[in-house]
Symmetry: C2
Subunit: 444 residues, 2 copies
């Protein structure tokens, strides 16, 4: 169903038809429609949804619309929504909402849950603890398969996943994991201890959520246990949350690589002023650094006064250098992000980039040489530009490979060493190379 | 266990100790070690692994090492490995291996499986069909929960996931899906038809795998059914494969945005020659296009002959324009990739970018003006550069927003409209603006 149809049904008060159509839709799709409706329509549509669907739809909605909705819902309605949310989504909600809304949310949450929420809110923003949920299936190692199944049937409805179950000791130390497949495919009288996997990959509450996401990618898990310092199981992270982390990290890398300060909110949710602020810092730094390139040019005033044509090739030299540097740095940054390239590979990468540079540089020099000969019949100029191109390509590819790896070594994010910064550095080098080569060969 | 320890144990022929240590490791970690070992050691370690572990480890290994291993394994050993692989991994393997290795693989696969593999190999490279597996749990709608559980126990071991089960009619039309949680939490005598979800999101075999991955992200699925034109279920795609597609798409976007032709293989697996080839096409195009910028400069020879200082600011104007354009295009390209920005938002985005441009442009003009006044005490120059900066920032941000969206409209990948291309276009505009403003204000 499209948004226009929803509006029409609302206008004509065909609530029953709307209800039927909504019941056939996925919550993710309903939320997309709600995010686009006006405030009064949202509450009307939301009230038509079944309790289960309302909760799920709410969890997919954007934060500004959620805020409006919470203001309009009665306490009883809000309680129904909160009951359907898993603990990690509840915590996210509370973190997102302005402080005048939070008390209304907390009021409808049980005392026990409020305690858990307070614990979860204490974890640092980028930690595993901040994205985990506390609703999982815990088993004991002395249980039989039949007893385990009984326990799953009892608490399964409130668990975020039943795919992986966690075997805990009396004091909640994580002793093993077992997935539902192994339970279902085993005989009823078998003991969990004999079936469970004891070689467990777990993370601590403090671990960086980016590292957590990488573990999902590497080991193909559906869920990952989170333990405290005493190895007590305190929560789990499910794969859908890990995917969100991966996507956020990629967006952050893209932003950093385009000289933008990373921003948690989406494009439309960010104000014009905030957008300007996020972009201006790096622009200022880069603008002022380009004064170096300018001052190098000033030193060669006599050269381009003698051969004004030299100035016409500044954009080509600078552009090619920037592009070559950004090609290398992008490949290296992405390789480091996916762990394909590691610090120990630095010489291997450098050697590869140098060989690529020479091939690329020679090809560009030849094509450009042909163009110069056709356009200006000036072999001296063709040689000057050829040598400059090969040198610029090599220097920029070496910088494009060394700078991100140096950043990694210094425990900085390699993504800041991307196109904009490298371009500015390469500009200095290439202009210097260009005029140096030109003045020596042309005898200026 | 680290690779050094494995080498030492191998050298001292402590195979039993090695076997014990390996049995405690995850297959993904064993594969990392195997990928680094020499050929003779790999086969030795691989033969120590249990049948199940050998299959899983094999599926994580890199393709050049897998090729070497297949050459060395006996037919019986290879059969054991192939038995452990799911159909989608088998198809991937056959597609990756050189043609002289493929017959050895096919020889150990049963006739029936060979037929399925041939069917799967026919799907286009980027289609849902090419990444799906045919091993899933099929139920009938007349089954009771107890009968369904029996069926799961019978065929579960060979299914890639038992989390979602598929309810099919006699002629294998997909009628519903039901997940294991709903089966386990329902009474034994309930009928599947009354429990299953009939409002199903499925994809066809021809659907683009990138769109498939987006569905996983949007709906938080663990698996997605793939149907043919008659709505018959032919396979499923699991979330781990969807994550791989997402990661590959991101890498492809990064490559396109850095003016590199996308490449399926990893950084180290790609030869120097191939790397050069992938990078050179765009470099040539961009290098030759920069001739336009050069020819504009040539037209203003008289202006910079009169005021040589004008040349010194070419890098700053070009650099700032390129950076502003790349900021906007990166945000738009990423927004389009995550579906946060849609075509219908074009005016909203444009309006936002224009307002951001004015803020950013004014800020840069002021800072630069102060610098010029301190360094050169030349108010005319400060005004020329100020106007040029504001105009350049605005033009480049408008281009950075319109070009990716136009590409999307023309069904091209927006990622090609990133920094390198935009920078080259912005260069032309900014240089033209710069000299136009300079000549009018300075009366050159």
């Amino acid at each position: 169903m499209e948004i226009e149809e929803v509006k029409e049904l609302l206008e004509n008060k065909k609530f029953n038809e709307l209800k039927n159509k909504l019941s056939e839709m996925k919550c993710a799709d309903i939320s997309t429609i709600l995010d686009e409706l006006d405030k009064e329509s949202v509450i009307k549509v939301f009230r038509i949804l079944s309790k289960e669907k309302a909760g799920m739809t709410f969890s997919y909605m954007e934060s500004d619309m959620r805020e409006k909705l919470i203001q309009d819902l009665t306490d009883a309605e809000l309680k129904n929504v909160m009951d359907e949310l898993f603990m990690d989504d509840t915590v996210d909600l509370i973190e997102e909402m302005p402080s005048n809304i939070v008390p209304k949310i907390l009021k409808v949450i049980s005392k026990e849950d409020r305690k858990t929420i307070n614990e979860l809110l204490k974890y640092p923003e980028d930690s595993a603890g901040s994205i985990m949920t506390t609703e999982f299936i815990d088993l004991k190692e002395t249980m039989t398969v039949e007893q385990a199944l009984q326990r799953i049937r009892k608490i399964g409805l409130d668990s975020e996943t039943i795919y992986t179950c966690y075997v805990l000791s009396e004091n909640r130390i994580l002793q093993g994991i077992i997935n539902i497949k192994d339970i279902l495919l085993s005989k009823k009288e078998k003991i969990i201890k004999d079936l469970m996997e004891t070689n467990i990959i777990s993370v601590t509450t403090e671990e960086d959520k980016e590292e957590v996401a990488k573990k999902f990618d590497k080991y193909d898990f559906y869920a990952l246990p989170v333990v405290d310092k005493e190895n007590r199981l305190v929560g789990i992270i499910t794969i859908d949350d890990a995917i969100n982390v991966m996507q956020d990290e990629v967006t952050e890398d893209f932003e950093k690589m385009a000289a933008i300060q990373p921003n948690e909110d989406g494009y439309f949710e960010t104000s014009v002023f905030k957008h300007a602020k996020n972009r201006i810092v790096w622009l200022l730094v880069l603008m002022l650094s380009s004064a170096f390139t300018g001052s190098i040019i000033t030193q060669y005033e006599e050269a381009f006064a003698a051969v004004p044509l030299l100035v016409a090739f500044i954009p080509m030299i600078m552009g090619t250098g920037g592009n070559c540097g950004s090609q290398s740095s992008t490949l290296i940054i992405r390789g480091l992000a996916t762990d394909e390239i590691e610090m120990k590979d630095i010489l291997k990468v450098l050697w590869k980039e140098i060989r690529v540079s020479i091939l690329v540089g020679i090809a560009l020099a030849i094509v450009n040489g042909i163009r110069i000969m056709i356009q200006y019949q000036n072999i001296q100029l063709a040689i000057v530009l050829g040598i400059t191109l090969i040198a610029t390509v090599t220097v920029s590819k070496i910088l494009g490979c060394l700078l991100p790896m140096t950043a990694k070594k210094l425990k900085l994010d390699p993504a800041i060493m991307a196109a904009p910064l490298i371009t500015t550095l390469v500009d200095v080098c290439s202009i210097l190379l260009y005029f140096q080569v030109a003045t020596s060969i042309m005898g200026l």
